[in-house]
């Protein structure tokens, strides 16, 4: 007897990062698969993962890096489909500092705002300045969140640079407050930064859940796969019409602009590539003490069976 009614955890459902989830819900794909999905929104990705480990959520749409971290902590979780190929994180500097800070190298001594210390925006910033030969102690990191607070911090001039996601970045770009230094929302950007994919949003389960409920997992993957296919063809208008109007950032134009900027980010086939896994792991390994010495079997972090079957069925 498999579990058909699921609790799905997510940390910030309104974010473009998790757009496929909202679409799958609004397009009715879960129902179509005979699933009863309750979406619970958390204050952050860490909390949704914790609720999965604690057993209160069955499935999470979250960052791929969680699967690596949890392997080290002996909490086997496994991704079953990719939603985002790129992290979608952008590093930018405040406009009036742009004359001084022209490249990532110039960030030395700067105050960088990240969504939260210890989050992927923090690691992203660390990884990039590391490549330029800077140490983590060369910059100071401030947690500013991912909402209006982040916009406020930048506008107020409390920080020199920002490592954040959409819609914060698009809003700041639209208002002309920032100059982008590194952009992982686009194919070229990622090519430049990592030499390829760097899986971001994925759908993951606990490993034993997958074992016990393969049929349910398959249905979840089917729903998301169908969404990805829909998204591949969708225009900004289609998306704006499908999501709830509250998601429009109070300004449909801004929303569409943000979507366009992020469109390349969404996965096309749902498969996490080996290169992508290595990229993600490499980025973590440099800056996290715990991961440095650990032995991670990347093949256990992603189970491609379901996506392949979904692709075959579709």
């Amino acid at each position: 007897q498999e579990k058909k009614s699921l609790t799905l955890g997510v940390g910030g459902k309104g974010l473009l990062y998790y757009l496929p989830l909202t679409l799958a819900e609004r397009l009715g794909y879960f129902k179509e698969q005979g699933l009863d999905v309750t979406i619970t929104d958390f204050g952050g990705g860490a909390k949704s993962l914790q609720s999965l480990i604690g057993g209160s959520a069955d499935v999470v749409t979250g960052a791929y890096e969680h699967t690596i971290r949890m392997q080290v902590k002996n909490q086997p979780i496994v991704a079953v489909t990719e939603l985002g190929r790129f992290p979608g994180i952008v590093i930018a500097v405040r406009k009036d500092r742009a004359d001084k800070i022209k490249t990532l190298k110039d960030l030395k001594g700067a105050k960088i705002g990240v969504t939260a210390p210890g989050s992927s925006t923090h690691f992203f910033a660390n990884a990039l300045i590391g490549k330029e030969g800077l140490k983590t102690s060369d910059v100071s990191i401030i947690g500013i969140g991912g909402g209006a607070g982040a916009v406020a911090a930048m506008k107020k001039g409390d920080i020199d640079a920002i490592s954040n996601l959409d819609p914060v970045i698009s809003k700041l770009e639209q208002d002309g407050d920032i100059v982008v230094l590194a952009d992982s929302r686009s194919e070229e950007g990622n090519q430049k930064l990592f030499g390829g994919n760097n899986p971001a949003a994925v759908v993951y389960f606990k490993a034993d859940f997958v074992q016990k409920n393969p049929e349910t997992v398959q249905r979840v993957v089917n729903a998301f796969y169908k969404t990805l296919k829909w998204l591949e063809k969708a225009s900004a208008d289609d998306v704006a019409k499908t999501v709830p109007p509250e998601y429009h950032l109070g300004d449909v134009a801004l929303y569409k602009k943000a979507f366009e900027a992020s469109k390349a980010m969404y996965s096309k086939d749902g498969i996490v590539s080996d290169a992508g896994m290595k990229n993600a792991y490499g980025m973590l390994k440099d800056f996290d003490e715990e991961l440095k010495g650990a032995n991670v079997d990347l093949s256990k972090t992603f189970d491609a069976r379901f996506v392949k079957k979904a692709a075959g069925g579709a």
């Binding site: 609790t7 955890g9 910030g12 459902k13 309104g14 974010l15 309750t38 979406i39 619970t40 929104d41 958390f42 204050g43 909390k47 949704s48 914790q50 609720s51 604690g54 057993g55 209160s56 959520a57 991912g146 909402g147 209006a148 916009v151 406020a152 819609p167 809003k171 509250e246 998601y247 429009h248 950032l249 109070g250």
Partner: protein
């Protein structure tokens, strides 16, 4: 200086109108002459609508919620959570408060631990509550309880210690058992302390519920606010807070009603002619 109900109500409404008016003006129009006050620009909108929305938008949103009826479900969830948090927290606070007040040894030994527990940031505890209580309403109730409990507890504890010594001695000489002392002496004497704390607690029960929802949930006012916040929907955030505030006033009114009944024995406030 005695004024009647209607005058009072009009004054209250006046305050609200002035506040909303200010909000409207400061979010809508540029205020000039600020350079002299040390601002960078001479003319600027003091409360940018991106952060503060405008009364019109917020009002429209609230109307929309109620017209479409989407808000009721969320309100109901939050109400249940806050009510449970309030009841459990204050009953717990009262019981443990009495217990501590009557057992000085227990109180002395656990005193530092109670104060420690009071200082733990509830936000950090949220995942543990989710682990134990799941993602339903109970983890939010737990968060509210941890706020309400301490406020009520400290006040009841103090209230019991404040009993007039003569009245207490009289009760003991009349032969009251510990339980009877509780009921006939400590309880009524601590009541006004309790009610003072209950007014604060009503607010905190709701805060607990909303913060719990804000940190992870699928429904409730906190959920609405969180959803709105992530997508720059400031009107939604403020509308949520307004509904919340109205909601708290309604609950608080109930507390006051109960209070007036239970504290009927007190002398009316002294005639303060001066």
């Amino acid at each position: 200086m005695k004024i009647n109900r209607i005058q009072l109500l009009s004054l209250q409404i006046l305050v609200a109108v002035v506040a909303i008016g200010l909000w409207h003006v400061l979010t809508k129009y540029e205020i000039c002459g600020l350079a002299r006050l040390g601002f960078e620009k001479n003319c600027t909108i003091l409360l940018p609508p991106f952060f503060f929305s405008t009364p019109g938008d917020v009002g429209a949103r609230i109307v929309k919620w109620f017209v479409e009826g989407t808000i009721w479900g969320h309100l109901w969830i939050t109400l249940i959570e806050a009510a449970l948090a309030f009841v459990i927290g204050s009953v717990g606070g009262v019981l443990i408060g009495f217990w501590f007040a009557r057992k000085p040894l227990v109180a002395a030994v656990f005193d530092p631990y109670v104060k420690m527990a009071n200082a733990l940031p509830r936000v950090v505890l949220a995942p543990i509550f989710a682990l134990w209580l799941g993602l339903g309403i109970w983890s939010k109730v737990a968060l509210g309880v941890t706020l309400v409990f301490f406020i009520v507890f400290f006040n009841v504890y103090q209230g019991v210690k404040e009993v007039s010594p003569t009245v207490l001695n009289n009760a003991r000489m009349l032969g009251m058992s510990e339980r009877q002392l509780m009921r006939h002496v400590y309880w009524p004497s601590a009541l006004s302390w309790m009610f003072s704390s209950l007014h604060t607690s009503v607010g905190f029960a709701v805060v607990g519920a909303v913060v719990g929802e804000y940190l992870g949930s699928a429904a409730g006012l906190g959920y609405i606010i969180q959803q709105a916040e992530g997508v720059f929907d400031v009107a939604g955030v403020f509308a949520g807070m307004v509904v919340l505030a109205a909601f708290v006033i309604a609950i608080d009114l109930l507390v006051t009603l109960v209070e007036n009944r239970l504290l009927a024995w007190r002398p009316a406030v002294a005639d303060t002619r001066t």
